[in-house]
């Protein structure tokens, strides 16, 4: 329907209309007030964070003395300070005594983990001083792959836990084993869901203050909630909740779940302010954000369906591993349990067997990300349903239809306990097929295939949960553990409406939005109830835990605004209206039931009438005129929690969310046979999100989520090397959809109101993040006839699926050596001719003076042991220079034939290690040909941002080593001018140049 502004179903009032947003005027004029735009207290200092270049290492020592001596540097916060003042974060599972501090205190467990904080007079100086902090690490073997991490012999991240599997739960609902035994068919699939993030354009910002007089912290951050994490932060800061005053700015530059992860930095900057004795501000940069903020949880899912001959699924079996990264950071392991009630999707499947394992690996901690848990779950479930159709040779659409929850079954309790509030799934499917032109799309596919094109159609059905039950996470505990901890449940929402003496209306909601238009919709709701112009209502969305009404479910997540928060606003508005009606009725000696509110007036039909401000003003100016029991003043706070959100029962049934929208998507894709590029020919997405409060904003949410999901399907992945290096540290490496790649979906709606929310609305913000990746994957599976679809479907991966072999290298070019899988390891070989005998060359290399001279940028070389040295080396590539504290070693000595020269070191730019095997061959002219084969591994910042330059940079640097050696022996460059020129020409024209 694609609603433009100012249209849509017109009721009597503003609710349900596509009003343009009250937020826009400020944002379009550059007058938004984001976290980094707000005034800071005088004397505010700025923080920069020293981060680990290693994925897994012991921190042996931190020496900040040189940094502290630098001009403008005021303090350095170390792990010792953290241990003294803070606590580890509480962890959401029992029996796993892991310590997660806001900064490394003994070990680092992912690249980018904070190791210390430099606090200086401005941000530039703080960043300068990062280079001067000396951290000594003892690298440990990392584990990156979640399945390998779960194995017995894997390196263990947390020794105190003893294993990387930190939580394992088994669930049985119905009689799954019996259903599998009796099944006509068993269909299975194993899928992997990658790491990615919805990557807001504004990064994290924290302004920390510590009040020494009270021992309290006052911290401003673009945190998004949930405010259950306020308790986690307060406990980490070792203060009561009231001594952590947490505030959010008026505007926030996107979040999509990711700004939940700022919680550890809230604690860190509170401590930094305490250390410095001054306010401390930290503005995260993009590399920090990509490598060390938060990401979606990657998952490995092994699934099986028990299926009857006609395609009815009688049971599902899930065996899942969630990779939560280096620490189980709250609210993990929620990625599993947010969807636990919905594991059977849109289908009436009564038998279910589940094994969930949570593993830790050497990656950044995972957390909330739009579609939380749904993208992962539906990728497995809907790929499986597609596979059922394929294996049984049935139409996927028919398989889906035969299994949908029937319309007369609502409210429907799923096998694992969700109470699906409302829906007409089959009708919604029919609507989508009809209005989206499904039959014609199938004809397009047939025509395209007849022309020899690779064309596929994919479908998926998704139940979109919204308004999370705050107790769902306790499903990760056993019933016994839950009984001990006490029941957790509900989702308390709150809203406050105040009316000032001039009749001005101020609404406060604790939903901390990041651009969804909550101010507009809250104004629409209040305007509808009080009969005033929405433009006259001011909605404040800043949250100050020291002053405002809030609870643990406050914040912006689980698409809870339309159902829960707008409902609380409605409830508060009704309270205000009731008081005003009583006031007016007393003034007019009438019955309050007759009092009406419309067009800015309060009146009785065919009777007295007063301006809204006059009636409201009475509560302030003339309390003597108020009815009995009316206390005066006018400010109402409403709290609302739905009774349906109960704690998990003893059989692990959990109603994990209050509302359940329904989405049916399908798409047609054409795949380029040569490039592997996927072209989305048509995408239809049909939503039933209950009552729509502002259709234009609903479509905006759908488009935005859809485009992020397109990125997940086709391009986005946080890539890690086998050594745990983070390889996606810039937005040129972590690719996001831009306008030319974006596709406009056909958006369709139907409205089945929720009986459980005050306004009948359900959440709508996350559905396409759940449906679209798998819908596209199913279309690609259909186009290629392949089962092994893995995201993101990059052109090179699709070429692999098509089965395109790389063409032969053009004549004269040596093909590049196959790179080591995953890592930024660089291997190459080269040689130089030296006019001296092998023995002379050999002896020269073994001389420490020679080593000092031939290592480029070597400031100092100190003998440590037999042929072992400590070196201080500056390596520069282009503008980027880094000073390494390095170890250099000569080994495998076989004089005068061969030896190995190795080195490793750390710098502020990251870590590097490499080794070259050197062979000396005597030539006929008595000279020596020095052949070398080298391998270099890099980690940290260099790997994250420099991946595209590393091959040539390492070639130059290694080449320098051996050219300098030749130079030292002869007093002139290796091979002479003519030879160098010839080599250059050969390289330019591709004649046998070194690879």
């Amino acid at each position: 329907m694609n609603h433009p502004a100012s249209e849509g179903p017109a009721g009597a009032g503003p609710l349900g209309r596509s009003l343009t947003r009250v937020e826009d005027a400020a944002l379009l004029r550059g007058l938004g007030r984001y976290a980094d735009d707000l005034a800071t207290p005088p004397g505010t200092l700025h923080a920069a964070v020293v981060r680990s270049p290693h994925a897994h290492a012991r921190v042996l020592s931190v020496d900040a003395s040189e940094a502290l001596a630098m001009k403008g540097v005021r303090a350095v916060l170390t792990g010792e300070d953290v241990k003294r003042w803070a606590n580890p974060f509480p962890v959401g599972v029992r029996g796993a005594p892991m310590e997660h501090w806001c900064m490394a205190v003994d070990k680092v467990r992912y690249v980018g983990e904070p190791v210390c904080v430099v606090i200086a007079e401005d941000r530039y100086r703080a960043e300068d001083a990062l280079d001067a902090v000396r951290v000594e690490y003892e690298p440990l073997k990392p584990v990156i792959d979640p399945e390998k991490a779960a194995a017995e012999d894997a390196p263990v991240l947390h020794e105190s836990v003893g294993a990387n599997v930190v939580n394992e739960r088994h669930f049985h609902y119905g009689e799954p084993d019996k259903a599998f035994e009796e099944a006509d068919h068993r269909v299975s699939i194993k899928v992997r869901f990658p790491r990615n993030s919805c990557t807001p354009i504004e990064c994290y910002v924290v302004l920390g203050q510590y009040h020494a007089a009270t021992g309290g912290y006052d911290i401003l951050s673009n945190f998004q909630g949930p405010y259950a994490l306020h308790s986690v932060m307060a406990r980490a800061l070792n203060v009561t909740g009231s001594r952590l005053r947490l505030r959010t700015p008026p505007d926030s530059g996107g979040s999509f779940g990711i700004k939940q992860g700022v919680l550890t930095y809230v604690v860190l900057m509170g401590l930094a302010a305490r250390k410095a004795g001054a306010p401390v501000k930290w503005v995260e940069d993009r590399l920090e954000h990509l490598q060390a903020s938060s990401s979606a949880t990657n998952r490995v899912a092994d699934m099986e369906a028990a299926v009857t001959a006609d395609g009815r699924v009688t049971a599902l079996r899930y065996d899942q591993i969630d990779d939560c990264g280096g620490y189980l950071r709250a609210p993990e392991p929620a990625t599993f349990y947010r969807m636990h009630g919905n594991l059977t999707g849109a289908y009436g499947i009564r038998n279910l067997k589940v094994r969930n394992r949570v593993v830790l690996t050497n990656k950044m901690p995972s957390g909330l990300n739009r579609g939380f848990g749904g993208g992962q779950m539906y990728f497995a479930l809907e790929r499986l349903m597609h596979q059922v159709a394929r294996q049984l040779n049935l139409d996927p659409l028919e398989v889906m239809r035969r299994n949908l929850v029937p319309a007369d079954a609502f409210p429907y309790r799923t096998a694992s306990g969700a109470l699906l509030d409302s829906g007409k799934y089959a009708d919604t499917v029919d609507l989508a097929l009809r209005d989206g032109g499904y039959d014609e799309l199938i004809q397009r596919r047939d025509r395209a295939r007849a022309e020899g094109k690779l064309y596929g159609v994919g479908l998926c059905a998704v139940v979109e949960p919204s308004i999370s039950n705050m107790g769902y996470i306790t499903t990760a505990l056993t019933p016994e553990q839950r009984a001990k901890a006490g029941p957790k449940n509900g989702a308390v929402s709150t809203a406050t409406i105040g009316i000032d003496p001039l009749g001005g209306i101020t609404v406060h909601v604790s939903s901390t939005p990041q651009g969804q238009g909550h101010q507009t919709v809250a104004a629409q709701v209040v305007a509808e109830v009080l009969g005033v112009d929405p433009a006259n209502i001011l909605v404040n969305v800043e949250l100050d835990t020291g002053k405002d009404a809030w609870s643990i479910a406050s914040g912006n997540y689980s698409s809870r605004f339309a159902g829960a928060v707008a409902g609380a606003v409605h409830k508060a508005a009704l309270k205000v209206r009731e008081r005003l009606a009583n006031i007016a009725a007393t003034l007019w000696e009438a019955d309050a039931g007759q009092v009406r509110f419309a067009d800015g007036k309060v009146f009785i039909e065919d009777g007295p009438s007063l301006g809204f401000h006059r009636v409201a003003g009475t509560a302030h100016w003339s309390p003597a005129l108020l009815p009995d029991g009316e206390a005066g003043g006018l400010r109402e706070t409403a709290f609302w929690t739905p009774p349906q959100l109960e704690a998990p029962d003893d059989d692990d049934h959990i109603n994990s969310s209050l509302c359940h929208g329904f989405i049916f998507d399908y798409c047609g894709v054409e795949i380029d046979r040569i490039t592997g590029e996927i072209h989305i020919d048509r995408y239809v997405t049909c939503h039933d999100a209950g009552r729509l409060l502002n259709p234009m904003l609903v479509d905006g949410q759908i488009r935005g989520g859809f485009t992020q999901a397109l990125g997940v399907a086709l391009m986005e992945e946080f890539a890690y090397g086998d050594d745990g290096s983070f390889l996606s540290g810039t937005l040129a490496d972590y690719l996001l959809p831009t306008a030319p790649e974006a596709v406009e979906p056909l958006i369709l709606h139907t409205e089945t109101p929720s009986p459980f929310t005050p306004l009948g609305a359900k959440g709508v913000g996350e559905g396409n993040n759940m449906s679209t990746p798998v819908c596209i994957a199913n279309a690609v599976a259909d186009a290629l006839g392949r089962d092994d679809i893995q995201l993101p479907l990059t052109p090179s991966r699709v070429r692999g699926l098509i089965g395109i072999d790389e063409p032969q290298a053009p004549e004269g070019l040596e093909p590049l050596a196959a790179p080591k899988p995953g890592g930024p390891a660089l291997q190459a070989r080269d040689s130089v001719e030296v006019p001296a005998s092998p023995q002379t060359v050999y002896d020269t290399v073994l001389d420490p003076e020679t080593l000092r001279a031939i290592i480029p940028g070597c400031h100092a070389l100190e003998l440590e042991g037999d042929n072992q040295y400590r070196a201080d080396v500056t390596v520069g590539v282009g503008m980027i220079k880094a000073r390494f504290a390095a170890r250099v070693q000569l080994s495998d000595l076989d004089p005068p034939h061969s030896l190995r020269l190795s080195g490793s070191g750390d710098s502020a730019m990251g870590s590097a290690s490499g080794s070259a095997h050197v062979t000396l061959v005597e030539l006929d002219n008595g000279h020596t040909r020095l052949d070398y084969v080298y391998e270099v591994d890099v980690g940290g910042k260099i790997a994250a941002v420099g991946g595209r330059m590393l091959q040539s940079a390492s070639k130059i640097i290694i080449g320098q080593v051996f050219n300098r050696l030749a130079q030292r022996l002869t007093g002139k460059p290796a091979g002479g001018l003519w030879q160098r020129l010839r080599a250059l020409l050969a390289r330019l024209f591709g004649k046998g140049g070194a690879s």
């Binding site: 944002l27 810039t730 831009t738």
Partner: protein, 176 residues
């Protein structure tokens, strides 16, 4: 050649039509100078490596990444930021179209996008959709999926042409 890192240079530039003064170190990025020294916080910083486009401003009328320019490079130049677009508290046609088409949500990328669009419509008064999308490829927006932005730009281009032809028609009539 090398100026000492800490020596501050005096900078004078014309910001949104007003002459402004300040001083900056040689390494200070233009975006930081505009935001923190001159108070133009409508300039947003999203990546600091020239990819996201949020910090785009006009330098002598040309859309430029203010994270890839040094403040000292703007000395003597004219710089226009998103704060320059509204006149007398009335948003310009492009800003109004953005609101009508729900072309923004969190608004963080919007300042830069608006500045690129302003320059683009000057250069290309009759754009097609592919051209607009190509121009927008220098910006990242995570909220909107770009649809509203494309529609707003195309609509404004159409309105401006219609306005011009009306103007032309009026002038022609006056000539007769």
């Amino acid at each position: 050649m090398h100026a000492p890192a800490e020596r501050r240079s005096e900078i004078e530039l014309e910001l949104n039509g007003e002459t402004r003064h300040g001083s900056a170190e040689p390494r200070t990025q233009l975006c930081d100078f505009l935001r923190h020294d001159l108070g133009a916080t409508g300039v947003h910083v999203g990546c600091e490596h020239g990819v996201c486009g949020a910090c785009t401003v006009l330098v002598d009328g040309v859309a430029s990444r203010s994270c890839l320019m040094l403040a000292v490079q703007a000395d003597g130049r004219r710089v226009d930021t998103v704060e320059s677009l509204a006149r007398d508290d009335v948003m310009n046609d492009l800003q109004q179209a953005f609101s009508r088409h729900h072309a923004l949500q969190c608004g963080f990328c919007t300042s830069g996008i608006l500045m690129s669009c302003v320059e683009y419509l000057e250069r290309v008064p009759e754009p097609d959709e592919a051209g607009v999308r190509d121009m927008l490829s220098g910006h990242l927006c995570r909220c909107t999926g770009y649809t509203g932005i494309v529609r707003a730009v195309l609509e404004v281009a159409g309105q401006r042409r219609a306005g011009e032809s009306q103007q032309q028609a009026l002038e022609n009539r006056n000539d007769v």
